[in-house]
């Protein structure tokens, strides 16, 4: 379960709802469940099995590199924010090694 | 193909000679003919000072001097600032004050600062800023460069 913050430009698809509690263990599952309730929203966020190139996913404020595979904790906040251009996209292709000092 | 000219000059205290085309600048000669890449090209039209050298005691932009003009004269480049005993005080103070970040302008500044202190061993902050206004730095904002030069002047005066 997570609290998904719907980007303002997609709120017309959710009947104006700004935040929604959605179940799912990964970002991908959450988007699928969201699409189940509001058909068409997945297509705005996902293309070719990946998060659309101009969108970044932030879980509890940290931009997630793992895209649809990213695990989501209970009561995480999920935001869809613009991905940045110019070689500074915060989205490495592979999952990061677990850090010795990683808090998660 | 333009005929190359044979030029003899005194460079960093040594007699050297080289061949160059008349259209080649002294900067090109230093870098591409003599392999002394310490002098840098930033603009190639005398506006940034990254190519600063001392020619017969005068601070010049080597991009605005022709290679053939060095004949029979005395040239000092960044490579000639340190001695066998070690770094020049200006170089040492640049390191201590962290007066460089990317370092590309640093050779030009050190040569220019040496030319200043050779003429005026006790400059004020304003005089240092005025003298170095022909050297552009984009990284440091000049603060630590000015402090390094002022302290180098003090160190050199103390030794003298």
């Amino acid at each position: 379960m997570a609290v998904v913050w719907i980007p303002s430009l997609l709120q017309s698809l959710t009947g104006g709802e700004e935040t929604l509690v959605v179940s799912g263990a990964t970002v991908g599952e959450i988007i699928d469940n969201l699409d189940g309730r509001f058909p068409g929203i997945k297509d705005r966020l996902v293309e070719g099995g990946e998060i659309r190139p101009h969108i970044a996913v932030a879980i509890d404020g940290d931009v997630s590199p793992e895209g649809l595979e990213q695990d989501v904790r209970e009561s995480s906040e999920i935001h869809f924010i613009p991905a940045l251009s110019g070689g500074l996209e915060d989205r490495p292709a592979r999952a990061p090694a677990r850090l010795r000092s990683d808090r998660s | 193909m333009p005929t190359k000219q044979h030029v003899q000059t005194r460079l960093n205290g040594e007699e050297v000679d080289f061949l160059c085309e008349p259209r080649q600048s002294l900067l090109e000669v230093l870098r591409d003919v003599l392999g002394l890449t310490g002098s840098k090209e930033g603009c190639n039209n005398g506006n940034c000072g990254a190519c600063s050298v001392i020619l017969d005691g005068v601070l010049v932009n080597s991009c605005c001097v022709l290679g053939v003009e060095a004949g029979g004269r005395e040239v000092t480049t960044i490579e000639g600032i340190a001695s066998v005993e070690g770094l020049h005080p200006i170089q040492q103070k640049f390191l201590e004050h962290a007066a460089l970040q990317c370092g590309i302008c640093t050779p030009g500044f050190i040569v220019a600062a040496k030319a200043l202190l050779d003429k005026n061993p006790h400059p004020s902050e304003h005089q240092v800023r005025y003298w170095l206004a022909g050297n552009l730095c984009r990284c440091t904002g000049y603060d630590k460069i000015i402090r390094a030069v002022l302290e180098a002047a003090q160190t050199m005066e103390a030794k003298a």
């Binding site: 251009s85 990061p96 | 603009c43 600032i81 170089q91 390191l95 962290a98 370092g103 990284c139 603060d143």
Partner: protein
């Protein structure tokens, strides 16, 4: 966080490891690279801002003795109009490739069209003049608002406005529309007692690094391609080159030389593919250099922009609503930092009702590239001026207003997430308490201005290996090119963990074949993320060294402790070995020892800055003289304080240049009239006083030493701070940047 905050190495000021090479002229930068058989390349660039290429005839150039090859866009593999994943981000392959060498169209004056390799650079330049290009010249569009109009000339056949996965039907110069919304701004403005709405424009500005771009390429007959160049990211170059050249990543090795400044401008591909295909055609290494005019006209400046900001506050100084309309010029291809600008514009404040609309718009200017906190300076010029006008109307001190409305941990940002632990309030308080702010300013036509700024910083990926030498020193292999002293700050973090002195850790910056993947030196990430990798690698070294000590004492590893540089046997406390002593016995205890780590740390800390400037305006010429400048910033934990100060001073001065003089002057044909350092006027030492710095340390809990990125945020406040100071000096508000003397005079005279 580290158990103890008394550090032995962190916070000291050792001489940087590469320092002697840089003060003696020995350090090798990209243009200094020499090798046998080197040919020299030069690039032919479009004289037109907007044109279709009908044909290119290179035959006369090829016929010149000494000219060994000529290439055009046809020598690159056809680039599809699709987005590709580079690993560190997505990019449109056609735009990337066409920007390197034009396809059917040129979209800015200076757009590369062809290139020559010859035995001397002078010969290569002469040969360029013999290449004939037949252009169909098209009308250029040179202003963002003009480009957004329905009847504007269109740059690209397939470009339609995208908005979160949806595309309009009509072709347009507007590439994207993005929006952030919170609460209800209409309601918020109704609740306000004071509302200010203003429009701002900013001119195109360049990063201005003193070293022009360079690239040397050797394409071996076996297909292995080696590139030597000055770059902010060897791996990023490698990843872009592979799809543009149509070869596997594994065949490309990028060897970074020292770099003479970047500020974000030396990340994208420019010369590398050109040097590569020239090398392939000639069988020789080819070096291609840009001259200064090419740097201005053909690399990536930061956007010119149009921004409208409306903010409302109650009479006791509480912000109720903030709204922005932001249109950024992307240059010839989409991809301005509009998203980043939107993420920064109101972010220092706790505002319940926000609406931000942002537009990425193509125009016939060079494709923009990141410039130090890209997009944020334009944004802060607008928002921080409006805040100042609100304060004036309310009769409130501008720093007190900021304290009253400051974002803190838990405050929701306009883009959605909440702030983690941040130090904004602390910077404002430090500015209030500063000697500068407490010193009265007197004199004719003098004024003091303040402004704040935010940059989110990034984390991304870094890899480090540490090899232990027999004398107890270590070699640290990292992949972050050193633009501002990061070799030292990374080495210091490893030294702190290992109990060594900074000089005992020898850092080297390695190439793509010699170290694990590293993202760019940029985004204020290097001391944070590469430092993090160094810390993790150092812990791995300690783990292995602990096992070696255990082997020496014939005990279990968990019975060995390490503190203050010494290993101790918990069972026999008088048994101790220093790091050096264990290192001396590596051969006997298992062989050479290497610890590596590759990280993509979360917990990136955002950065805040508050600047104070005193200036004087000459009412007869409009010239502004900076009298005093103080940059206050939350730096998390300053690993090497001199280099942190250096980032703050350098960024502030770039901001001062942006505010007072720097701009691209275009004629109506879209040709830059001032493409030289003479007329693109950056600050000199004579234009400035000392730049005072106040380092506020609110540690970032996301890093073991509390590091927060520091490099970018210093450029965000200066333009607004200066605009606000000019107002206090001569009573005029400046709504265009740069505030060059002519413009200031115009405003003074208009005021009467």
């Amino acid at each position: 966080m580290a158990e103890s905050t008394t550090y032995k190495v962190i916070g000291t000021r050792p001489i940087r490891h590469d320092g002697v090479d840089k003060v003696t002229g020995r350090a090798i930068y990209g243009a200094d690279v020499q090798m046998a058989g080197l040919l020299h390349g030069k690039v032919l660039r479009s004289p037109h801002a907007h044109a279709r290429i009908r044909s290119i005839d290179v035959s006369r150039a090829l016929a010149v003795p000494g000219v060994k090859a000529v290439v055009t866009g046809a020598d690159l593999p056809p680039a599809e109009d699709r987005v590709i994943q580079l690993g560190e981000g997505a990019v449109n392959l056609k735009y990337l490739s066409n920007n390197v060498l034009a396809g059917e169209k040129v979209v800015y004056k200076g757009h590369p069209v062809a290139a020559v390799a010859a035995t001397s650079p002078h010969l290569a330049e002469e040969a360029l003049a013999l290449i004939h290009v037949d252009y169909e010249v098209l009308p250029p569009v040179l202003d963002v608002r003009e480009a957004m109009k329905d009847d504007a000339p269109l740059l690209h056949d397939n470009l339609k406005t995208k908005s979160l996965g949806q595309e309009t039907d009509k072709r347009s110069n507007i590439a994207t529309h993005t929006q952030f919304k919170a609460g209800d701004v209409e309601k918020g403005f109704q609740e306000a007692d004071v509302v200010i709405e203003r429009e701002f424009t900013t001119a195109t500005v360049h990063q201005g690094y003193i070293e022009p771009h360079n690239a040397t390429a050797m394409w071996n007959p076996d297909g292995q391609l080696t590139i030597w160049e000055s770059t902010q990211g060897a791996f990023t170059v490698q990843r872009q080159l592979a799809p543009v050249l149509g070869i596997p990543v594994a065949q490309i090795r990028v060897i970074p030389a020292e770099i003479g400044g970047g500020f974000g401008g030396k990340i994208n591909l420019y010369l590398e593919p050109i040097a590569a295909v020239l090398s392939k055609k000639t069988g020789h290494p080819v070096k291609v250099l840009m001259n200064r005019a090419e740097v201005f006209e053909s690399t990536g400046p930061t956007p010119g922009s149009y921004i409208r900001v409306k903010m409302g506050a109650t009479k006791d100084g509480r912000l109720t609503a903030a709204q922005a309309y932001m249109a950024y010029e992307a240059g010839g291809y989409p991809g301005s930092p509009i998203g980043a600008g939107m993420m920064c514009i109101f972010t220092p404040y706790d505002v319940p009702n926000v609406l931000i609309d942002g537009f990425d718009v193509v125009v016939n200017k060079p494709k923009t590239a990141p410039y130090r906190a890209p997009g944020a300076t334009n944004a802060a010029f607008a928002s921080e001026t409006v805040v100042d006008e609100l304060c004036e109307k309310l009769g409130m001190d501008p720093l007190q207003f900021r304290l009253h409305n400051a974002a803190k941990e838990g405050t929701r940002r306009p883009d959605g997430p909440t702030h983690p632990r941040i130090g904004y309030r602390e910077t404002v308080q430090a500015a209030l308490d500063s000697d500068h702010y407490r010193t009265p300013l007197e004199g004719p036509n003098v004024g003091r201005g303040v402004a704040s700024g935010y940059w989110f910083n990034v984390g991304l990926q870094s890899s480090v290996s540490i090899n232990v030498n027999a004398d107890g020193s270590v070699t640290l292999v990292e992949g972050s090119t050193d633009i501002g002293g990061t070799r030292a700050s990374i080495a210091m973090q490893a030294a702190e963990v290992l109990g060594l002195k900074a000089e005992e850790v020898r850092p080297i910056v390695a190439d793509t074949a010699s170290v694990g993947y590293n993202d760019v030196t940029g985004g204020s990430r290097t001391t944070f993320a590469s430092g993090y990798a160094a810390i993790e690698a150092a812990h791995e070294v300690l783990r292995q060294m602990t096992e070696r000590a255990a082997r020496i004492w014939k005990v279990e590893a968990q019975e060995v402790t390490f503190a203050d540089g010494v290993f101790r046997n918990a069972k026999e406390p008088e048994q101790r070995l220093t790091f050096k002593e264990v290192a001396a016995q590596l051969g006997r205890t298992g062989g050479p020892l290497t610890g590596s780590a590759t990280v993509a740390p979360r917990g990136v800390g955002g950065a805040f800055a508050t600047h104070i400037v005193d200036l004087q305006v000459d009412p007869e010429t409009g010239k502004v003289t900076i009298l005093r400048y103080t940059a206050v910033q939350d730096v998390g934990k300053a690993i090497h304080p001199s280099y942190v100060e250096g980032q703050m001073q350098g960024g502030a001065v770039q901001g001062i240049g942006w505010a007072l003089n720097e701009e691209y002057f275009y004629n109506d044909k879209g040709v830059m009239a001032n493409a030289s350092f003479l007329d693109y006027r950056m600050p000199t030492s004579l234009d400035l006083p000392m730049i005072d710095t106040i380092l506020v340390e609110v540690p970032n809990p996301g890093h073991p030493f509390g590091v927060r990125g520091v490099g970018e945020v210093p450029i965000v406040p200066p333009v607004a701070a200066i605009a606000n100071a000019i107002h206090r000096a001569v009573g005029v508000r400046m709504y265009h940047s740069p505030m060059a003397p002519g413009l200031v005079m115009t405003e003074i005279l208009a005021k009467g």
